[in-house]
């Protein structure tokens, strides 16, 4: 199939491994799905300390289950990416370790206190949900199929994040103040989640034309702000003065781009931002430490081929 035919046929769940897709499509889809899968893994990496530091048994269980879900999403998404025939899962995980794999800007920041957890679990996951819901009708069928499960579980994660936020904002004055401080710090990053408004994205045009992407960054950010500004206020959070956000007459929002730190954003996009680099390297060190187990498994599977020996 040539790109012209792909563009003509592009529609929800239109293409699958049965179709002979042009390389340009397969590369663009791999880039998108790999980014998504990497983000699941690095998000899990960021949240894992709070399994231990959650302040109740039920919360601990919920954090453990959430982190486990993210790893499960990574597993599903790498599989969907592999189905394009460009890279294997091992190659993608290797790229993530080597600092070549890209992932969401918010997961490059450190998370030190429990009061920060709803910034990810409510706001960032809420923002991600907006994007993911549209991806149920992406043109690469395995990706859309993975999104069915991912979106279902993300719904629980956002509820978990919202419940923690509600608990903190109805807690002691100290808890409320700490949470507001965390919100002030995270809010600009959350806005940047959707990328710059006047982005001259080299990838967006093609991805939209072949039906991989369904909505522009601007549309998604707008939908997010419409829903989440009222939610933040409902829980007693004050929206920081910067970046300035103005409501247009048609109800949409205009974010003053100059109020955001784009140097930092692009540094992050290149995996050059210091806390993020530490997080990438930290994960790499943990993975290097268990390399020996994967080697044993590989040998075992080669000698014991034919026997059912699922490595789980």
């Amino acid at each position: 199939m040539d790109v012209e035919t792909v563009t003509e046929r592009a529609g929800p769940r239109e293409f699958s491994p049965k179709d002979d897709m042009p390389e340009e499509y397969r590369k663009a889809a791999t880039r998108m799905i790999q980014f998504h899968a990497n983000s699941e893994i690095m998000g899990a990496y960021l949240e894992r300390p709070f399994i231990r530091q959650a302040p109740s048994l039920d919360r601990k269980l919920a954090f453990s289950a959430k982190v486990q879900d993210e790893i499960g999403h990574g597993q599903l998404l790498y599989r969907a990416a592999e189905s394009l025939g460009i890279k294997t899962r091992e190659e993608m995980l290797r790229e993530l370790e080597e600092g070549k794999g890209k992932f969401l800007n918010c997961f490059h920041y450190p998370m030190d206190s429990y009061v920060e957890t709803p910034m990810i679990a409510f706001f960032v996951d809420g923002a991600a949900m907006r994007r993911q819901a549209t991806l149920k009708s992406t043109s690469w069928e395995p990706y859309a199929h993975a999104m069915d499960k991912v979106c279902f579980e993300e719904g629980f994660h956002v509820k978990h994040g919202e419940d923690i936020l509600r608990e903190l904002m109805t807690g002691s004055r100290k808890e409320q103040e700490m949470t507001q401080e965390a919100f002030d710090e995270w809010w600009p990053r959350i806005i940047q989640f959707f990328g710059p408004t006047d982005e001259q994205s080299t990838h967006h045009g093609f991805a939209a034309e072949v039906g991989l992407k369904q909505m522009s960054n601007d549309q998604l950010r707008n939908a997010f702000l419409n829903a989440y500004i009222p939610k933040a206020r409902k829980y007693g959070l004050e929206i920081p003065d910067y970046p300035r956000i103005e409501k247009r007459d048609d109800g949409t929002y205009e974010v003053r781009e100059d109020d955001l730190d784009w140097d930092e954003f692009f540094k992050i996009a290149k995996n050059d931002y210091e806390p993020g680099v530490g997080q990438i390297d930290g994960r790499k060190a943990a993975q290097d430490a268990v390399e020996w187990v994967r080697d044993v498994l590989d040998d075992y599977e080669q000698t014991a081929r034919g026997q059912p020996a699922a490595a789980d």
């Binding site: 302040p55 048994l57 039920d58 790893i71 187990v293």
Partner: protein, 280 residues
Amino acid sequence: MATTDADLGSPGDLDEGEREAVEHLLYRLADDEFVLAERYTEWQVRAPTLESDLSLSNIAQDELGHARLWYDLLEDFGYSESDLVWERPPGEWRHATLSEVPFAEGDWADAVLRSYLYDVAEGIRLSALEESSYARIRDRVPKIRGEEGFHRDHAEGWLERLATDSGGLDRLQSALDRLFPHALALFAPTDPEIEDRIDDLGLRTASLSEMRGEWRSEVEPFLSELGLTVPDADRHTPHGRGGDHTGDWDDLHDDFTHTYRELGRTEARRIMVDPDEAES
């Protein structure tokens, strides 16, 4: 040992001595599960493969769930979750040291061997509770047993795979040498007099030394078959059951209570259904 057909009735029916025995037994059970789960979760996002990450997460959550079931029975006596977990001083915890010692980075051999040593003991311990004279304990055994079977299969499968490799076998041997004395701590008494009372009241139908014998006769041939040498070692001191622990426990306790203290919390939020309501 004396077992009795007498049923001890409900929590309110217990006299002081009976209640003390029940509490000791429950702390043994709950603390082992909670602390081991705490250690297992260290493997989340750090396991060798995405698949093994998911499996170990499941096991950690199962153990946490079991801890929750046992702590819930202590709540029958008026304790809150804060009393039992978040505000209990580290020197009053009664888990065996097997649960608390840390994993060295990348030491997956330790993770699967520890799970095996624990799960065999757990199976034996649950058998001895099936006919407990205390219905609240007896009734919770079947649900927990069902999950422990999966844990054990998981551990055995991994041990068999790692043992096929000479490097893997070396790592397993070094983990066994280190863990075996801590595993023997599983059968140590919290207080010898109270452990006798637990047996006399029929709360448990096998004594600690009977269970230890059964455990040894099960794990030793299996480990030898894998090519491992079971060390001729004594129980670790301290063993944990009496409240005395290794220095690693203080660090772990400090870490998991961090947020509770940082936020100045006085109670633990429940979001899940109470185990008694979930059953009915």
